[in-house]
């Protein structure tokens, strides 16, 4: 069959896009997966060594710290953004006056980079110039607040800063969801004298499962790719107490010259992501069809 001139032009136009998809995205991902089973150190090396990089990785205490930090950080980040974001969406929905000012205030962090976010919070939390110093100067010389430099708490401060950055988007998603719910519900609930908070939690929010799915996915991908905010806030420290996989991969690629091992870590990141996302998606899609 002969293609029309227009169809041929359509394909020609798509060439850059095809290069991006098959070379820069999927080709690169596959190449990194391949490097994870090679002996690559400072430069890519094509000697096949099977699962050796993975075994080194899984024996590495530092990797497990980074890997479990991803879950601690991720759990807090999701819980924080969702609770605060949904809470603010409900509060703004209750507001009878203009919501523009408050909405702008809750949303603006989203326009800032995670580097700016991390650095700003690092100064506020810094014991020698931030909150600790302020409270001590105010007449409480024994006050102690050094979470940012404490091995047990540093990852919590990272979550705290990231929540500050991510809440606005969740709020705006849920606010538009809440506003799209049939207003008849409010009339009916007033007649039945159902309190407003019960309308939100028992009637409106359960209808917003699709919004929740979107929000969880968006936040989840943020968790896996978190790098900037950690570098800016704690740089993985003290020691490697607040390291995360994305930072581990970067360091093993470019600072330690262990490309094979770094690639193995990157592959584990992706596999973890798929292992969490697929069942959730499957469950939600099944639910929708049922």
């Amino acid at each position: 069959m002969r293609m029309s001139a227009n169809r041929i032009k359509a394909w020609l136009v798509l060439i850059p896009c095809i290069v991006v998809v098959f070379y820069f995205i999927w080709g690169f991902a596959a190449y990194t997966a391949y490097l994870s089973v090679t002996k690559s150190t400072f430069l890519p090396d094509h000697e096949f060594i099977g699962t050796a990089n993975y075994r080194v990785l899984f024996d590495h205490h530092r990797w497990w710290v980074a890997y479990s930090n991803m879950f601690i950080f991720g759990g807090l980040y999701l819980a924080g953004c969702l609770a605060l974001g949904i809470g603010l969406a409900i509060l703004l929905d209750r507001l009878t006056g203009s919501e523009t000012l408050f909405r702008t205030i809750y949303l603006y962090p989203m326009s800032l980079s995670l580097i700016v976010t991390g650095l700003a919070w690092q100064w506020i939390l810094n014991p020698t110039i931030g909150i600790q110093k302020l409270v001590r100067d105010a007449g409480y010389p024994d006050f102690k607040f050094n979470w940012v430099s404490s091995p047990d708490h540093a990852i919590l401060t990272v979550a705290f800063a990231a929540i500050w950055h991510g809440t606005g988007l969740i709020m705006i998603l849920f606010l538009s969801g809440i506003k799209s719910v049939d207003p008849e519900i409010w009339k009916a609930s007033r007649i039945d004298r159902i309190p407003a908070w019960r309308v939100y939690f028992n009637i409106i929010l359960p209808q917003l499962r699709a919004t929740l799915l979107t929000a969880v996915m968006l936040l989840g991908f943020q968790v896996v790719r978190s790098f900037d905010v950690v570098v800016a806030l704690t740089d993985g420290g003290p020691g490697y107490a607040s390291d995360v996989p994305a930072r581990y991969v970067f360091e093993y690629f470019f600072e330690r010259g262990r490309i094979g091992q770094g690639s193995a870590a990157a592959v584990v990141m992706v596999v973890t992501m798929i292992a969490i996302v697929l069942p959730y998606l499957y469950f939600e899609v099944r639910r929708k069809e049922a």
């Binding site: 032009k9 995205i25 991902a29 980079s113 919070w121 110093k133 790719r225 990141m269």
Partner: protein
Amino acid sequence: MRHYAHRTALLYGALFVCALYFLSPLYVMLVASFKTLAEVRGSSIISLPEVWTIQPWIKAWSEACSGLECNGIRPYFIATFEIAIPAVAFSVLLGALNGYVMAKWRSRSADLIFTLLLVGSFVPLQLYLIPLAITLRELNIYGTTAGLILIHTVYGIPLTTMLFRNFYVALPDELVRAAIMDGAGFFKIFFSVILPLSPAIAIVAVILVFSGIYNDFLFALTFGETGKRPIMAAVQNIVASSYGIKEYNVNIAAVMISALPTLLLFLVAGRFFVRGLTQGALKG
């Protein structure tokens, strides 16, 4: 009635407390960047300055040191725009063309490419770093402005394609059919029928892609040219690498300046941000 007033006060109280949490970093940075170093070191960065000074802003702009270079953040600021402007132009134009083909010249293979593009946009960027380094070396543009323009064009395409495709799908197919009847070809239809309908989505795409490139750290850090690194990598480096006495006020002013472009963009065009992000979010 009194019960009602009580509730409104509570509502505003809660909104106000949350507003303080969200505003506090901005407040601290503004206040601290107008203090003298002696005052920052003598008191916390949080209290109001006794003497206001603009010196930290001037020093951050033109004198602060990143490694051995002490030209402030100005060169990095300019370098970032040199990368962002062409990359935004390329990825938005390519995204519009891709979106046009995928929405109005649909075929099974075009749909497949779109799916692969979307799913691929969720791959963590770390997986691209080593192959990217190899590719840029081969092309002889490793650590150059051209290299970063290429990177940001390439990885901007999934977002721009998605935005334009979803926008064009909603345009009636009759527009294209009528134009074909009139004898218009593929490009004629794009430039004289489709493109004139696109300003709204193009603004959204430009704002989102620009902010993404401006705020990028990973690629900037990995592939930036020493002395001409993009702004976020430069600012992070300035803050992390100040030797001797840490000039907190200058560092904070540098971060504040680096935050201004996207912050102002948000304040001026916030509704486009929101539209883009919620549309972007709803795709998956």
